[in-house]
């Protein structure tokens, strides 16, 4: 692995860990089951990789995660 690639990957890992914690906190507030929360967090974080013009990515992630959780609950509603 080239030094720059290693740097990108280390940074990405650190970002994943920090943002996972942020979104896990939101998931706990929303009382999402752990397995669902982890899947949705992973989806939201992957989706964020294509967002290049959003200034406050943390706010974007929280909004995206809340929207995903709303959809999950709506789909489970009888």
């Amino acid at each position: 692995m080239l030094p720059l690639q290693h740097e990108i990957e280390s940074t990405a890992s650190a970002l994943y860990e920090r943002r996972f914690a942020l979104l896990a906190g939101v998931a706990a507030q929303l009382e999402l089951p752990d397995e669902i929360a982890e899947t949705l967090i992973d989806d939201v974080l992957l989706a964020s990789l294509t967002q290049r013009s959003i200034e406050d990515l943390d706010a974007w992630l929280v909004a995206a995660f809340r929207a995903a959780a709303r959809r999950y609950f709506a789909e489970r509603r009888p």
């Binding site: 982890e38 989806d43 989706a47 990789l49 909004a63 995206a64």
Partner: protein, 387 residues
Amino acid sequence: MIDRVRLEHFAATARRLEQERAAAAGTVERLLRETPRADWPALAEHAQLQTCGALERLGNLFADTLTKDPVHANAIAELAVAVAEGLAPDSYPAVILAQLRAHAWKDLGKALRFVGRNHDSISAFDTAEQKLDGHGALAHDRAIVRFNLAMSLQELERFNESLKLLVECKHVFRDHGDTRNVVLCGLAEGVLLQRLCRFREARERYLLLLASTRELDHESLAAIHHAIGFCSVELDDDADAEANLLHAISLYRRIAQPIQILNVELGRGRLFIRKGDANAGIAHLRPVRREFLRKGMHEEAGICGLEIVGALLLVGRTSAAEALARKIVREFTLAGLNTRAITALGYLSEAITARNAAPGLVRNVRDYILSLRTKPEREFRATHPTA
């Protein structure tokens, strides 16, 4: 609890996307430059284009080109759709693949709207939205698609559906901290009011947007001032119209948007004529029309030409008006534009030849041609009395 496999997958994807973006910089432009446009569909098979980085690059080129050369932008969007649809299902994480395909279709929908194919554009946006189905995390992407759908619905005069979507999208954009798109929603609401001829309400909406949004980019600011200027022309508020149109031109110049400048200049020409200075309007509009023609925008050139025809009739230069009207008929015919538009223009030419056309008939024909963008099957009826 963090799943290490997911974390490593995320980090590897991040690295891959950065590598692809670096590789795409320059490569995509070179491939497009070196390949005749007619052969672009074959480029979809080119390995260097079959990446997320290349698709993002195509998306950026599309955005840069759309208002300058919609036909060229349409070709870029068609290529991007072909590339995105050709990607293997396991080439990227499902959520990213959905984004890539949805945005490619969304861009194609925008291009189709710009070239007047509004029904096709709605189909493209429907396809874009389908690509996002099942991905709850993509509410923001979905709102971007639906915002564009709302714009096409306006073109088809489906105003209530459009307004409902705009309100919905504005909430999503605000939730996601996307100020630029919040502004674009506000602008679209104003445009909708303009189309309903509610110019005072539209202008108030734009002024509110200026007052309530702190950080506006040049493009949004220019669009708002253009819109305020347009409303002010209709409200006969000359000073306000001139100030806002000039401000819009200055902003569009800074961001190099020549077609938008031409559209604003068309508004200024109309302003001169409405103020009673038809000769100034004619002198102002002639170079604008030439420039539209030079860019192959025959319909816009025709609309601009009709403003000149109306002004020529106002100052009694009937022969010049007749000659120009006939010239516009020839241009529309050569460009293969809607035959109904050509028929209406022919009717106008004959009325001028018979010395039987008032400027009101010119406005009647102009409005009819504009209405064909949304209702291409509509029949022409001369609703304004001839002279």
